[in-house]
Every structure is written in C-alpha cells, then in structure tokens.
C-alpha cells in the first residue's frame, strides 16, 4: 500500500511539474467551454421561444435544464475525453521504457501490481481533475437556475467510470511501446473503435449479435448515467474493462521480466 502510494505521488508529481498536465487541462477546458457556451446559448434561445409562444396563448411547454442542456453536455465531455485520455496515458510506461528507468523500477523491491496501480491511479487522478474543471459549469447553472442534483451526480459518476475503463486500456497500450506518439495514436484508435462498435449495431434492436456489439461499446453504457439512471450492468462493464486493462498491463510488464 505504502509503495503504491509512493509511486502514485511520484507519477502525479511528474504530471504536474511538467507542462503536460496543464496542456491537457487547458485543451480540455477550452473545448468543454465552447460546448457549454453553445449549449447554454441555444438552451436560452429555446426557452425564450417557448415563453413567447406561451405568452401568445399557446400551450405551456416546460423547459428542463437537466434534460435539455446538462445531459447533452456531459455526453460531449466524454467525446472530448476520447482525445485527452491518450495524452494522459501515453507517458505512463512508454516514458520509463524510453528513459531506461523501467529497469530500475523492475529491479526495485516493488511488485508489478504496486507499480501498475500507482501509475494507474495517478493517471486517473489527472483525468478526474480534468473532468472536475467542468464542475464550474454546474456551479454556474445552479446559480442561475434549479437543476436536479442527483442526475448530475450520476452523470459525473458515469464519466469517472468511463475514464477508469479507458485509462486502463491506455495504460496497457503504453506498456507495449517505448514510443509515446505510437502509444497515444494506438490508444486513440482503440478507443475510437470501442466507441463506434455500438454503431455497427445501430439498428437498436434486441437481436443478440447487435446487443453484444452495443454491450462492448463504451459509450452505450454512459448514456444511462448521464440520463440519471444507475444500472449495475454499466458499473460492472466499466469496472471489468478497467480490470482487464490493468491485468493485460500486468502481463505485459511481467513479460519484460522474462523476455529480458
């Protein structure tokens, strides 16, 4: 535990003393802000239109900031994350391999799991910080309105789990190569594939093969969280994907020990 903590601190430190973390944070926040601002402006426009119709004797139509703004926004945050996660995970093993510090780590009294978990949670913390910057939007929305809290909470839980799964996969890919660019590119392609695989079954049906494809897709599981629906299926999917990523990382790190 203590060793994992040490690695965690070392990695987190490496993220935040280099400009890397800030580049990720700024890029993400800038893109998220653009989406937020556009969503907000269009929501207000919609709201105004509906109010005008009601004043002219039309039927009263409600507007709902949770369903008409936050839900779409949170889904979009996951799209932006798709571009950012490879930048977060690309260095975790590739850098150590490239700098030759991997041998040092492997010959140290640390176990593989301690190294992997330390690195994993450091990367996940950076991801959480990145997602956390968007809480500013929620604060603003609460200031100007009365959004429902629980669906927002479940949305953020979903985004965290989504990140936990993808960071796991990114770590595995990073452990395969010492080239950070290759690591980032491959991670991006794999994530994009896991994203789009659900669209192969875009006929939304209960046909089993299409259901399987949709089940494998990372985004299909996020939608319920973002709606405000908590389902153990999605929890299990994300946690097992994260575990699979970590397990494969372990196998990959272990193999460098005996392959020499």
């Amino acid at each position: 535990m203590k060793n994992t903590w040490t690695i965690f601190r070392r990695e987190l430190n490496a993220y935040f003393v280099s400009p890397m973390a800030y580049v990720v944070l700024v890029f993400f926040f800038a893109l998220a802000s653009v989406f937020f601002y556009l969503f907000l402006a269009s929501f207000l426009q919609n709201q105004q239109l509906i109010q005008m119709q009601a004043q002219q004797g039309g039927r009263f139509q409600p507007v709902n900031v949770n369903l008409m703004l936050i839900r779409g926004l949170l889904l979009n945050l996951s799209v932006i994350s798709l571009f950012m996660i490879p930048m977060i995970t690309m260095r975790s093993f590739s850098e150590d391999k490239h700098n030759g510090t991997m041998e040092l780590l492997l010959t140290s009294p640390l176990t593989n799991w301690q190294i992997i978990l330390g690195k994993y949670f450091a990367a996940l913390t950076l991801y959480a910080t990145m997602i956390g910057t968007t809480l500013l939007f929620m604060v603003l929305l609460f200031f100007y309105g009365d959004p429902e809290f629980l669906p927002i909470l479940s949305g953020y839980i979903g985004l965290l789990l989504f990140g936990a799964a993808l960071v796991g996969i990114g770590m595995f890919i990073s452990s395969l190569t010492e080239n950070q660019l290759v690591s980032a590119l491959v991670t991006f392609v794999v994530m994009l594939f896991l994203w789009l695989v659900g669209a192969l079954g875009s006929f939304n049906s209960t046909n089993w093969s299409q259901q399987l494809l949709q089940y494998l897709s990372t985004i299909e599981h996020l939608d319920d969280f973002v709606k405000g629906v908590f389902d153990t299926r999605h929890l299990v999917y994300y946690l097992s994907t994260a575990f699979l990523g970590l397990f494969l990382t372990y196998q990959s790190v272990e193999s460098t020990r005996w392959r020499g």
Binding site: L25, L44, Y144, V229, F230, F247, R259
Partner: protein
C-alpha cells in the same frame, strides 16, 4: 531445412484460416473450403510431428512456459470477466435517480412485463433519422430491461420498403407491430402536423396487453328503442367513432335486440344502453338485471327528459336519475371550453376507471344522478352548477330557483352488483346522465373518448388496460439575461486563464 519447415508451418496456418474464412463467406462447407482446411491442418500437424524434438525442447524453455501460462491465464481472466458481465447483465439492479422518475415505467406496466410468459417481438417502422425514434427507443430499453422476453427492432420504412409493404402491409408511417407466435397487433399513430405522434407508454402497454390476450371480447349495444347508430361515423349523433375506438382495443362490437330474446347472450363482456328514445319493456329490464347479477357489465347512457330515465331499473341498485338538466354558467366552466348547457367535469370519484385520469370531460345536456348506499360518484360537476328542473321554460333563459338542485352534481355513477350465486363475481354497472358525450363530434373532445373506453374496459373486466398520463417534463428553466450570459463567458475565460497561469508558473520554475 529449418527454414522450409517454418514456411510450411505458416502456409498450414494460413490454410486453416483461409478455409474458415471461405466457410464463413459461403455459409456452407464446400469442397474447396474443406480441402483448404484439411491441407492446412495436415501441414501444421506434419510440421509439429516431423520436428517433435525441437517442439519439445521449445516447450521446455522457460520463456515458452511463461508465454503459454500467460496466454492461458489471460484467457482464464477473460472468461471469468465475460461470465461476471453476463451474470450481471441478466441480474441487474436499476434505479432512476430523477425526481419525477422520468425514465421509469409505471407500476402497471412493470407488473405486466414481470408476468410476461410469451416472447413478444416488436417491429417499429420509424425511420433512422426521425427524432421521435430515440424517444421510443428509450421506452423500449426500459421495457426490455424489465422483461428480456420483450424484443424489439426498428425498421426504416424506406430502407426496408419490401418488408414494410409486403410482409407487414404498413400503410401508415410510424406503425408498430407487436407479434407473438400466434397473434399480431399493431399500433398506428394519429396523424398530426409535423410528423407522426410517437407512442407513449400507455399506447405500448395497451397494445402489448392486446397481443397477449387470447380471446376477443364482445361489447353489445342494445338496439330497437331509438338508440345511437353504431355504423354512423359521419353525422353528429352517430357512434361510429366510438365503435372504431373500441375495435382498436380489440373488442368485437355488435348490436343486440333484446325484444325478441329473454336473455343477454353468453359471450357478452359488456352491454351498453346509449340514448334510448323509448322505455324498455319489462322482460328486457329483467334480462339486464339477471345479466348483472351473473357478473355482467352494463353501461346506461341516459339523456334528459323526454327521454326515458330507467328509474325503475336503476333504483334497486341505489341510483336515481333526476328529472333535470345540469347548467353551469360559471366563468371557470367557460374558460375551459364548456358553456352553460355543457358542463365541464374536472373532478372524478376514486375508481379504477378514473384513476390518474388527466383529462377534463364535457357533457352536453345531461341529467344529474342521486346516489345512495355503495354507489360511487364517477364524474362530478363544478360547485357552481345546478340541476334545472323547470324544463318547460328553457328557451327563456335559466336561473337557479327553489326547486332546482344545487351542485356539485353527480353526472356519472358506478357500482358493483352482488352476484346471486355464492362464489360468483359481482356485476358492474355504470350510469351516465348523458349519451352525447361519446358521439362522433364529442368523442374526440377533451378526454371524452378515454372516459368512454375506460368505462367499457372496466365493464368487460379488462382492468389491466391502463391509462397512464404521459409524463410531463418538469419545468426547470434558467433565469438568465443576455448580460448574465456575458458574465458566464467572463467567468469561464478567467478560470481558463487561471489554469494557464498555474501551468506557466510551473514551467518557469522548472526553467530556472
């Protein structure tokens, strides 16, 4: 020599894969795919046997051992994860965190789905790019979540034109076909401006109930005393619209002549008396009373005098029609679309027929009803209404007089009739002071049509057919002006600059 074996091994492996690919493309084992497969297998096996010593040596090597154990371990973990995911896929816990339970189905629907004993396949003919499709898909996801026997598929009418036209003869865009092994039911959207109206939970569940139902129930309308015309879908007074609505709910609708027979047919699930001009003969009323006491369902739709009041038939059950016309001149009544002679009802008794009933109903020229004992009021007029008893001077205007009956008044009443056998189920009786409310003109006004079909469903013991009010989105607006929007923009920019500033600070500190 070693090199040759290596090449042969690879050729063998490629042969095996190619054989499988050929099979998957053609879908059958043909001579060429079988040959490729066999040759590939023989090459691989041959290579392994001929180089058995080297293979054993390689197996003995530490790295091979590790490699094999790694692959086995990996497959093992993958298998466990797949099993865990499958288990939780089938046994999930789902909870809707929204305050209004926006994404949950009603209790009735849940109950029906939990008890689903047959597989139901649903084909929704909605195009891929129709916005309403997502809305329907979200509903279907919830249905399928509760019962895996609820299967669904969306079919784009344009892309699957052949299936839509030839197999299902889809005439209207947006039709949803429900199929079991033995039966087929369909839901068709009412046409509206700007595309078809997507189905609500109520529509989907009711169609589901209908497709699960095995027998077709019959509703009889008694004829021969100047009652409403079931086959007239055109004129004001006809009941063609009501008949069509009942048939959509999978009822057989027929007329019944009681004058020539002394009893109600055994296949009658409900009997409706609507707008009779002349009083019934004694033997007809006796037949109806017997039918009620045997567990039947009867609806009596009266009208003000001079039409008969059925007092003799109804009073034993605790219902006495007044000899009046309900008048409601209040502003409220007018505001919501009524007029003095057409009271609007927004208050209903507690009963399955009107449970969670979201609509108002209007009754043009109606009697009021006095009720006693176990009888429940079903539809109740506003408090400012009264029952005008001076029917001779209606033309000169009406005002509340001494002999008039002060509101609120009962416009519809409901009661159960005890069975005359020991363990028999009780009969069901509904009385309404008006028969016009379900005619061709008024059926589609306010909630009149729903009120009528709900009554018939209850009489026919179809308590499971439901009426769920469509979920209204909760109003959660933002109170922002254009100025506020600008403030938001500045706050965001400021926050972004803070992150950049912190990054620069770290960067410069490292440079020093």
């Amino acid at each position: 020599m070693q090199k040759l074996w290596k090449i042969l091994l690879w050729v063998g492996i490629i042969g095996i894969v190619a054989g499988l690919v050929l099979y998957s493309v053609v879908g059958l084992w043909r001579w060429y795919s079988v040959t490729t497969e066999i040759v590939g297998l023989m090459l691989v096996l041959g290579t392994v046997i001929m180089n058995f010593r080297i293979v054993v040596q390689a197996l003995g090597r530490r790295s091979t051992k590790y490699g094999i154990s790694m692959v086995i371990g990996g497959l093992f973990v993958l298998g466990i994860l797949a099993a865990v995911n499958f288990f939780f896929y089938r046994n999930n816990y789902r909870s809707d965190w929204t305050q209004q339970k926006t994404f949950s189905l009603s209790d009735q629907t849940t109950k029906i789905l939990r008890n689903l004993e047959k597989d139901v396949q649903v084909y929704a003919f909605w195009n891929d790019n129709d916005n309403a499709r997502n809305q329907i898909n979200e509903l279907f996801i919830e249905y399928n979540n509760i019962s895996p026997r609820f299967h669904y598929e969306f079919l784009d009418v344009d892309k699957n034109a052949d299936i839509a036209q030839q197999v299902y003869a889809i005439e209207q865009y947006g039709t949803i076909v429900f199929k079991t092994e033995t039966k087929e039911e369909r839901w068709e959207p009412a046409p509206q401006f700007g595309g078809a109206r997507p189905p609500q939970e109520e529509d989907i569940t009711n169609t589901l109930i209908k497709v699960l139902r095995d027998e077709q129930k019959t509703v009889y309308f008694i004829s021969g005393h100047g009652e409403v015309d079931l086959d007239d879908a055109q004129s004001r007074d006809g009941y063609g619209t009501a008949k069509a609505a009942l048939e959509k709910q999978f009822y057989r609708v027929a007329t019944l002549d009681l004058m020539s027979s002394d009893r109600v047919p055994g296949d009658a699930s409900a009997v409706v008396i609507a707008g009779a001009d002349k009083p019934y003969l004694q033997h007809e009323l006796t037949a109806l009373t017997t039918y009620l006491k045997q567990g039947g369902g009867v609806a009596v739709l009266l009208d003000p005098s001079p039409k008969p009041d059925f007092r003799e038939f109804l009073s034993p059950f605790g219902i006495a029609p007044d000899n009046d016309i309900v008048v409601d001149p209040s502003l409220e009544n007018r505001l919501f679309g009524g007029n003095p002679g057409t009271p609007l009802v927004r208050q209903y008794g507690e009963h399955k027929i009107t449970k969670d009933f979201p609509y108002a109903t209007i009754f043009h020229m109606t009697r009021s009803l006095q009720i006693s004992g176990e009888v429940g009021a079903l539809a109740i007029s506003g408090g400012s209404a009264w029952g005008e008893t001076d029917l001779s001077n209606l033309q000169q205007g009406v005002s509340f007089g001494e002999s008039d009956i002060q509101g609120p008044l009962n416009i519809a009443a409901v009661t159960s009739v005890p069975s005359d056998s020991v363990n028999g189920k009780p009969g069901r009786l509904v009385v309404i002071g008006d028969s016009d409310f379900a005619n061709n003109i008024q059926f589609n006004t306010q909630g009149n049509g729903n009120f009528f079909t709900n009554i018939v469903s209850w009489l026919a013991q179809d308590d499971d057919l439901i009426s769920v009010s469509p979920k209204q989105m909760e109003n959660r607006p933002l109170n922002m002006t254009a100025g506020d929007l600008r403030i938001v923009l500045y706050v965001i920019i400021l926050f972004g600059l803070l992150i950049i500033g912190q990054g620069l600070r770290v960067y410069l500190k490292r440079r020093r």
